[in-house]
Symmetry: C2
Subunit: 167 residues, 2 copies
DNA sequence: GTCCTCATGTAACGGGTTACATGATTCT
DNA sequence: AGAATCATGTAACCCGTTACATGAGGAC
C-alpha cells in the first residue's frame, strides 16, 4: 500500500520513470525510505490502470526508450487524502537487542554494540552531507530538512546508548 | 529465521509452551520484539524436527494439555553461534517522514507529529515501568536493562525531534 | 570489443499478520 | 450459564527482497 503513495509522492515532485524512482528512493529518500524494482514496476502498472498516473509521450529526440509517468489530478487527490490519514507505524524490532537479551556474558555481544556505534557514526556523517546539500539546493523545503533531522536525532541517541552500554 | 532464535532465546531462560512464548513476547520482549501464533507454532514444529528443542513430558497433575518445550544441547549451541554473528539490521522506514516529504504545506502533517509526540511520551512512561520492574525482579540482568535503555534513548530523541519540528 | 550504466520487467521465495477453527478450563 | 482466558494450530494474504531475463547505448 505505502509503496503506491511513495511513488505518487515522488511523481508529485516531477514526472519520472520506474528507474528514476528507484534512483530517487536511493539518494533523496534513502534516509527513511527505499523501493525495489520488484515493487515499483507492478505498482506503476497498477496505478496507471487506476488512472492515478499517466504515461507521458516520449520526446522525439529520445534515444533510449523510457516510460515516464506523471500524476493525474485524481492521483494528486489520492496523495493528499493519504497524507491526511495518520501514518501506520510498524512495531519496532531489533535483532541486536534480542541478542543482548539472550546473552549470558556481555563478551558475546560487545562487538555488535561497537559495530553499531561505528555504523551510526558513519550515518551521522552521511546525514550531515545530505543536510548541507539540501541547504544548498532546496533551502525552502523545511520539511525535507526535518526528515534529515529525524535521522540525526535518532543516530545520536543510538550512539549515546552504545556509549552507555559499553560502560 | 530470526523467529527461530527468538524462540530459542526465550526457551534458554526457561521451558515454555507456544502460548507462553506469545505472552513472553508481549510482555518481556515487547519493547523490541514480538511474535504471532502464525509464526510460533510452525517454528516450534520445525525446531523440534531438527532436535534443537524437545517436548517435555506433561506432569501427571496437569489439567490443561500443554506442550512445553525445552532447549536441547544442540539448540543451546545453535543459539550461542547465532549470538556471535553480527545482527542483521533492516533499513529504517517511516511512513510519517514520507508524508512530511511529500507535504506541500505543514498543516497537513502537523497533527501526525503531535500524535507521534503523544505516543512516544506514553512509551517513555511504559519504559520507566519496565525499568522499575527489572530493577526489582532481575537486578543482575544488566543486559536486560540495556534493552530498555535503548528504548528510552530512542523515545527521548523522537520527542526532541517532534519539538524541534513543531517550531 | 568489452564493460558499465540505463532501462523494464518477472518469478520465486521468505517474513509476517490476520482471521479463522476448535475446544477445554476457570472465573463471575 | 456465560464470559474470559488458556491453548494449539492452519490458511489466506500482503509486503518486500533477490535473482534472473533481456536488451540498448555509451565509455574506454
Amino acid at each position: 500500500m505505502t509503496t503506491r503513495y511513495a511513488i505518487l509522492g515522488l511523481l508529485s515532485i516531477e514526472p519520472m520513470s520506474g528507474y528514476d524512482i528507484r534512483r530517487a528512493s536511493i539518494d533523496a529518500l534513502s534516509h527513511f525510505w527505499h523501493e525495489s524494482y520488484g515493487q515499483i514496476y507492478p505498482a506503476l502498472a497498477e496505478l496507471e490502470r487506476e488512472k492515478l498516473i499517466r504515461l507521458l509521450p516520449q520526446p522525439e529526440e529520445a534515444r533510449r526508450p523510457r516510460k515516464v509517468y506523471a500524476l493525474t489530478p485524481k492521483g494528486r487527490r489520492a496523495l493528499q487524502a493519504w497524507r491526511k490519514k495518520p501514518p501506520v507505524t510498524r512495531p519496532f524490532r531489533s535483532e541486536l537487542l534480542l541478542k543482548l537479551f539472550t546473552a549470558e556474558a556481555p563478551g558475546d555481544v560487545l562487538k555488535h554494540v561497537k559495530q553499531l556505534r561505528k555504523e551510526e557514526t558513519a550515518r551521522l556523517e552521511e546525514y550531515a552531507r545530505i543536510e548541507k546539500r539540501l541547504a544548498r539546493e532546496a533551502p525552502a523545503k523545511t520539511l525535507w530538512k526535518a526528515t534529515v533531522r529525524y535521522g540525526i536525532h535518532r543516530s545520536r541517541a543510538v550512539i549515546a546508548w552504545c556509549d552507555e552500554t559499553l560502560r
